[in-house]
Amino acid sequence: MNRLPKNTLLFVGLILLTALLFLLDIAFGSVRLPLEALLSDNPIYHEIIFNFRLPKALTAVITGASISVAGLLMQTLFRNPLAGPYVLGVSSGASLGVAIFLLGSSFLPMHFIQSGWGLVISAILGGVFVLLLVLGISFRVRQAVSLLIVGIMFGQIAGSLVTILQNSSNPDSLKLFVVWTFGSLSAVSWTYMQVMLPLVAIGLVLALTIQKSLNGLLLGENYAQGLGINIVRTRFLIIIAVALLAGTTTAFTGPIAFIGMAVPHLVRGLFRTSNHRIMLPGTMLCGASLLLLCDLATQLPSDGYTLPINAISALVGAPIIIWIILKKRSNS
């Protein structure tokens, strides 16, 4: 009973932090706008704020929350602290889809290429394809760790195919593909948001509905089974949720490194619990604010360039992982 007020306090703090970072992300961009610009009716300021910075900040919140929850689900499923949202090969599959689209588009139908959705659909198809393979295998292997290895192997295969495509591509298409792998939060327009938001929302709701089974899994699969949890069904739901969360966000923003792996650890440390009732909302808030912070950092260069979000998130996320490993060592 004593714990509840502390957690409530933490949640209020996290909500305020996310809100503050959200506002900062809108206020600061690669062009310095006067503070009054937020309310001015100058059409250019209006355009920048409502059609560029607002969807970008929202994308940071949605993506940060989604990949962090996906990371948490994977860590719980595999009972492995180094699992992340992409271990099942989602991002490798998505990269393969995008690579086929950007580098091998000469054999794709024309109206597919010209529609604005081609890139997103290719990424989704690539990600879903790999996940379906993993899902199919999940019914055949008993051990979660085997599934982890299968996911990593599929990722490697997709990566090799991408390399083969790159080998025979012209430098301009290559650069376009490389830029995609840098990740971009600003690629999400309001039109894209209308598709991204519902898909991600379904994934988040799905994650929230299986918290009990998730808590059971923490005890080990045998214990969970003893508690009456259907392991195969839970696994299936987890993979679907991760597909929706990591797959959708990767399709729209490109891969975002390490955030999904690091945030669950931060939240566990913050709330000192592994209970998914606390972890899930905590992870969402923490992931959202961390990615907002990363996005603010991408605007640091003042000469017109912006840093790739994927690099910044790795710069922020990787030290957290190292710190966790060192801390585990010293504890044991």
Binding site: I48, I113, Q114, S115, V179, I240, A243
Partner: protein, 375 residues
């Protein structure tokens, strides 16, 4: 859940198909059409109150990439208001440094207000104006800074389409600033590339001047070409270099391959149909080109760098005899190379440079502009 995902995908694909159907149809026949002799990427038609420029899709024959309606009076009615550009342009942002020389020869360089990757620009006027803060940097050409572009509000943004699927261009389109696709690089001949001067000139109402400049230049090119064709001996050539096992050799129909032939070279891949470059392995190249007379378009600027790059480059007769040439005459320490900038509008000079390397006797007192013999 799987079903739901599937249905959503169907919905997405369905939406996207609907969007592509928007194509403006223009029933009128033009009063006249500008003569384009070498370029295949665009056409320019004149109507009573406006000019229409059509840029073709470089990857799909016969398909249109973009259509522009050029008006002098903003109240002029055109078939598509969103594609209407008021000319002459007074403020232009340019993402590719290959486009500056077009503006320079038309005396319109002063209209440039924004550029990409300013550190890679060779043009002195632009570099100075940037250093003085008169020109804004828009970041990387593949990841253009939209916020800065919106604040800058140029009349138009001149870009190149790099791929059928260009997400950056789609992002930029959201700014509602007209995107002028100057796809000179997709042309397969040097004259075709240079003829895009007519495209650029149309946005400044300077077509007559552009035609004059271009015709004179094409004349000089063709005269030089005839001189080279008359040469008794045709030296064999190779090009490029070995980079980590892959040697990119110009395809027979690429602008570089055609340049070699125009300059009177015997090029092994002259009859090949590739328009880009051929990714070859070292063995193939060595087998075919080890005794080639002249090495053109070397990837580095000195002989020692060429050997450092891959010591097996020594195996080629041309390297042993020092007959290696590269377009490194006009470079800056930052990596800027004028061969990628002004040479696009001066194909006659590029051709003469190569003739000078292949047939020194034909051009005895000639000083090359872009080409050097590697030391």
């Amino acid at each position: 859940m799987q079903k739901l995902f599937f249905y959503l995908l169907v919905v997405i694909i369905g939406c996207s198909c609907g969007r592509t159907a928007q194509q403006t149809t223009d029933e009128q026949t033009p009063d006249s059409t500008l003569t384009i002799s070498y370029a295949t990427g665009f056409k320019l038609d004149y109507f009573p109150h406006y000019k229409r420029i059509t840029v073709f899709n470089p990857w799909q024959k016969g398909k249109i990439l973009s259509t522009y309606y050029l008006v002098t009076d903003k109240n002029t009615q055109t078939p598509d208001a969103s594609q209407t550009v008021r000319v002459p342009l007074t403020k232009l942002a340019v993402t590719s440094c290959t486009h500056f020389e077009f503006l320079a020869v038309l005396n319109k360089l002063h209209t440039v207000t924004g550029v990409c990757t300013p550190e890679l620009i060779y043009n002195e006027t632009i570099a100075t104006a940037y250093a003085e803060g008169k020109i804004t940097s828009l970041g990387d050409a593949f990841n253009t800074n939209i916020e800065r572009l919106l604040i800058l509000q140029p009349d138009a943004l001149m870009i190149a389409s790099y791929n059928q699927q260009d997400d950056n261009a789609k992002q930029l389109a959201k700014s509602r600033i007209p995107l002028l696709f100057n796809n000179e690089w997709t042309e397969q001949s040097l004259l075709g590339r240079a003829e895009w001067i007519k495209f650029v000139a149309a946005f400044y109402n300077k077509e007559a001047e552009a035609c004059q400049l271009f015709d004179a230049m094409a004349e000089r090119y063709n005269v030089a070409k005839q001189v080279a064709q008359a040469a008794q001996e045709k030296p064999t050539v190779l090009a490029g270099g070995n980079f980590k096992g892959t040697w990119y050799m110009p395809g027979g129909q690429s602008y570089m391959g055609r340049l070699f032939v125009d300059a009177g070279a015997d090029y092994f891949y002259a009859n090949d149909t590739t328009t880009g470059s051929l990714p070859l392995n070292f063995e193939t190249v060595l087998n075919q080109f080890s005794d080639a007379d002249i090495w053109l378009n070397a990837p580095v600027a000195t002989l020692s760098e060429l050997i450092n790059m891959d010591e097996r480059h020594k195996l080629f007769t041309s390297a042993q005899r020092g007959e290696v040439y590269g377009f490194w005459a006009r470079t800056k320490p930052s990596g800027a190379n004028d061969f990628w900038e002004s040479a696009i509008v001066h194909p006659d000079l590029v051709l003469k440079d190569v003739i000078w390397a292949l047939h020194p006797k034909l051009l005895p007192d000639y000083t090359p502009t872009y080409l050097i013999r590697l030391k």
